[in-house]
Each structure stands twice: as structure tokens, then as C-alpha cells.
């Protein structure tokens, strides 16, 4: 089958060309060894061997802390306005693409979030195939989320097969045409195939609150929040009203939250819907593997492995998930 092929040698030229379409960001390994999504300026090559970045690309769509409403006596309530110049994210793995699709469901759904919508519209996604490591579980649990990008680079001998899946991707493809060659290559299998699978069975049933695992997890949890900060689909936020020092103005701020924090389910009067960590773990598990509310039966875990890697206590929900959900397909 004829496919568009780009050689490893041409990759740098591709990046140079992409910079003409907007700010180009991708995974970069810092001097401290930490992999972060950051600007791919000339001379800063992406680290395409890294399995995962510390924070997922959600940081571009939902900032850790941001103003969502401003009040002044003169102007009244005002929504924030920001300039979103085009941003191209290069080197996204299928799990991160699926993570963005999950966030799209939450923030572009019935009641679209203005900041998210504007940032998302400015974003071009360029995916790349990867090889799962021991922490990954994309290949172990079914998820209906799909790994959709504008362009995708699937690894083959000597380079990548490039495909577009959106009008924007098609435009980019035309713009970089002379860097590509038509080749007779079978479309390579890549880890996108783990995504977009229907789930059934356990995903729709209730969790047993008496399982000893909830308490065992709670005993070891340090409450640091790393699991959800680093999760591509965790989108809980806290909302704070912050008065200005002029006595008149105020801003409403939202910041990333974590379901294991004490205040997550705390309401007026100090009451708490989930008083102890064991209950909070059951809640977290339910969100990641079964979904709830309108997304019941819609697991949120994309299997990127960040929660397990980032947890200082090495907590891992996967063994429990394997027992309760059952591993679903071949390694």
C-alpha cells in the first residue's frame, strides 16, 4: 500500500517547517533528567525515546492555577480574555491523545468551558507511536477513548509513516510534502489500536465498599496529589474567590485539585462526603476504571502509567483493576 514516509534524517527539517505554523512544543529531557513538554526551539530536539513526560499535555489546556472571572466596581464581572496563538504539540503518545479526547468530552460538551475551548481551538496535535513499558497499561484495559490527532507518525524502519486525520492535518501534510516520499509500506500497527474499544460488564456495576484493598491503599497514601496532577484525565479543580487589596476588585481562581485531599468532598460546615482516605480511593478507582454520572461505564484511565511512576509510595491501582475489571486483550 502506498504510504507517506519521512526518514529520520528529515525529521529536523519537518520540525523547522512546523515552526512556521505556530509555537512548536514537545517532550524535552532537562538537565535534571525530567521530561517535560516545552518549546522545541531550534537546537532543542524532542526526546522521542522518552515513554512519558512528568505532567501530561493537559497543562496546556487547563493551567494549574488560573483566573476564570474578574470583578471590578467599574467594569462589573468580566470573563478572562487571552490571546491564543497557534500551538503545535509534537510527539504525543496515543495515551496522551486519548487523554485530550477525554478532556474534550468534559470541557467541550454541553456547557463548553470558554478558556478550554479557545486553547483547544489553537492546538494542533501531532501523535507518534511508542512502545509501552512496564508501567503502561494501555494494552491491558479497554477504553472507549480514541487516540485521535491531526497528524500521526507511526514508526517504521528508517523513519515514520505519516497520516493525517483532520483538515488541519491535511493542510500540514501538504505544506511539508517535499520532505515526504511515497513508499510501498504496509501501514504499521501501533499502540493506537489499544484505544477506542467498547467496554461492558463490570464497568457498569457498583464497587464493593468492603474490599480490604481500599484501606490498604489508604494506609500507604501520602496525600501528595501526584497521581492526579500527573494524570492526563484528572480534571478536578477547586474554585477560590480572591479579593483584591483595593477593597473593590476580586478574581475567581481555579486550581488543580485531588480527590485524596481532605477538602475535595468537604462542604459548608466542615461536613465531608468522603471523610477517610479509603473512601477517597474507592472514589478515585471508580472514576478511573468505571466512570460515574453522565460518564458511567466510561473509564477514564488511558494507561499512561504516570500515577504509578509519580507516586512516592509506589501505589498501583492496576493489580486491583486486573482482578475487578479483568485484563481484556493480548499484551
Amino acid at each position: 500500500m502506498a504510504a507517506r514516509f519521512i526518514s529520520h534524517d528529515n525529521l529536523e527539517l519537518l520540525l523547522e517547517r512546523l515552526r512556521m505554523y505556530g509555537n512548536l512544543h514537545g517532550p524535552v529531557r532537562g538537565d535534571d533528567g525530567v521530561v517535560r513538554f516545552t518549546a522545541l526551539s531550534p537546537g532543542t530536539p524532542p526526546d522521542l525515546s522518552a515513554v512519558r513526560s512528568l505532567l501530561p499535555p493537559k497543562k496546556y489546556l487547563l493551567h494549574p492555577r488560573e483566573t476564570i472571572l474578574t470583578y471590578t466596581a467599574d467594569a462589573g464581572y468580566q470573563l478572562p480574555s487571552e490571546e491564543n496563538s497557534p500551538l503545535i504539540l509534537f510527539g504525543l503518545h496515543p495515551c496522551d491523545l486519548a487523554g485530550i479526547q477525554y478532556l474534550d468530552r468534559l470541557f467541550l460538551g454541553d456547557d463548553p468551558d470558554l478558556l478550554y475551548t479557545a486553547r483547544r481551538a489553537a492546538l494542533t496535535l501531532i501523535g507518534i507511536s511508542c512502545t509501552p513499558d512496564d508501567f503502561c497499561s494501555c494494552h491491558r484495559f479497554a477504553t472507549p477513548l480514541e487516540a485521535v490527532s491531526d497528524l500521526f507518525l507511526a514508526s517504521v524502519d528508517g523513519g515514520y509513516v505519516v497520516t493525517s486525520s483532520s483538515p488541519r492535518g491535511y493542510e500540514l501534510l501538504k505544506g511539508v510534502q517535499e520532505l515526504l516520499e511515497e513508499r510501498e509500506i504496509e501501514s504499521p500497527e501501533d499502540s493506537r489500536r489499544f484505544f477506542g474499544q467498547a467496554v461492558s460488564g463490570p464497568a457498569f456495576s457498583e464497587l464493593d465498599a468492603t474490599l480490604p484493598e481500599w484501606q490498604e491503599l489508604a494506609n500507604h497514601c501520602l496525600g501528595c496529589g501526584a497521581c492526579s496532577l500527573c494524570c492526563p484525565t484528572c480534571a478536578c479543580f477547586d474554585v477560590l474567590e480572591c479579593g483584591g487589596l483595593d477593597g473593590d476588585s476580586a478574581v475567581r481562581v481555579r486550581r488543580w485539585d485531588n480527590c485524596l485531599f481532605k477538602s475535595h468532598a468537604q462542604v459548608a460546615g466542615g461536613m465531608n462526603f468522603r471523610k477517610d482516605r479509603a473512601e477517597r480511593f474507592r472514589y478515585r478507582y471508580r472514576h478511573k476504571y468505571r466512570g460515574f454520572g453522565p460518564l458511567r461505564g466510561f473509564p477514564a484511565c488511558v494507561g499512561c502509567g504516570r500515577c504509578r511512576v509519580a507516586c512516592p509510595a509506589g501505589l498501583d491501582l492496576r493489580p486491583l483493576a486486573e482482578r475487578l475489571e479483568g485484563a481484556h486483550h493480548e499484551q
Binding site: 501526584a226 477560590l240 479579593g243 477593597g247
Partner: protein, 247 residues
Amino acid sequence: MKKLRLAIIGLTACSGCQLSLLNCEEELPGLLDLFEFHLFPMACSPALLEGEYDAALVEGCVSTPHERELLLELRKRSQYLIALGTCAVWGGVAALRNGEDREVLRQQVYGQSRIACETAEPQPLRSVVRVDAVINGCPPEKNELLGLLADLARGTLPAEIDYPVCTECRMRENLCLLTEGDKLCLGLLTSGGCKARCPSMAVPCEGCRGPVPEANLAEAMELYAQKGFDRITVLERLCRFYPEWKL
């Protein structure tokens, strides 16, 4: 709008927390429109404790009978009483030697000379009075101090911080100094809000903001042990800012 009447005083401490407020030079003129700094001995000519206060901000530990009286008097006269900084909230450096013989300590510091006042083990404010809100830190962060004043101006108080230093450290995508850097970083057990000031400069957290709510000391100790830090070393480090970790 009626100006709020404030009392800002320091007990046994280094005055650094009050200084942090005075260092907000840009904001100070604006603050004078909102507040009457009625009692602020560190910044103004001596004023008398008189009338009632909308809020009292108190730095430091209680360690003398006079400080105890002063604190009780302020509590009686103030709608809100706020513990300002780690000594006032947790005991801090001032309480570092609690549990040791005070006569021995007195001789080490003052030798044979007599000191005029009687002292007791320095205690955080909550040992003596009800505290309505706390601002952690040694010293506190400027944005938290100004946030407190902005909250007071609206008749409210700052929310409790229930996440550790690690949370903001991860948000900043720092290398984990404990799990990856093998350093004795106390971020796991320490109340956040400082935006991981020290770990972001590759300096391990010293725990200056005191314990985070629901701190899991047992699991943290396990983790420190795995990294080769013995219990005594970790506890000594922890107790520099919150002596009661010992208990």
C-alpha cells in the same frame, strides 16, 4: 468603607514575619486606605492597647507571663485572632529546646547573670487562646499575607491549606528530590502554599511550614528508611519547626 482596626504584635520570635509584611512596600500605601494599623509596635511609635480590634495578627510563641496576659487581652478585644508564621502556629524554632531543663538552658545562655523575667517553654498560640486562622511559613509568603488582609477586608478568612509542598512541586515539574534525588526532603509532610520555593531551587524542603493536615508520618518514615535516613535524623529535622512531631 470603614477602616478595619488591626493589632499586629510579636511575641517570642525573630520579628521576621512582621518584617515580611513591612516588605510589601508597593502595597503598603494601599493598605492604609483599608486598615488602621492601630497597634503595630514594630512599625509605629508605641501605641497603647485600647478599644476593640477587627483582627489581631500575632507572631511568635508564648513564653513569658507577660506574653500570656497580652495574648489573652488581645483575644478578648479582637473579633479575629490570626497566628502569623510558624512559631505562632506550631512553636517553630522558638520551641526547639522544649522538653529540656530550662535552668540548664538559662545558664548556657545567660551564665550567672540574673534575667529579669520568668520564662516557660515556648508554646504556639493555640495552647493559650482560640485561633481563627493561620498563616504558615518561616517567614510567611508575601502573597499569603496580602491574601489574608484582602480576606479580612471582606470579613472572611483564608481557607485551610490541605495539600503538602509536593503538590506545588509536581505542578512545577521539578525533579523529586526524595524519590529521584535521594535527598532528605520533607515536602511530603509539610503544608504547602510556598509554591515549592526550596525544591524548585534543588534545595530539599526543611519543613518550615509545619505539618500538612492528615500527614501520613508512618508511611513517610518507611520511605525515608528505604532511602537510608534513620528515624532520629528525620525526626530531628522535622522537629526544627514543629517540636511535637516527637510525640
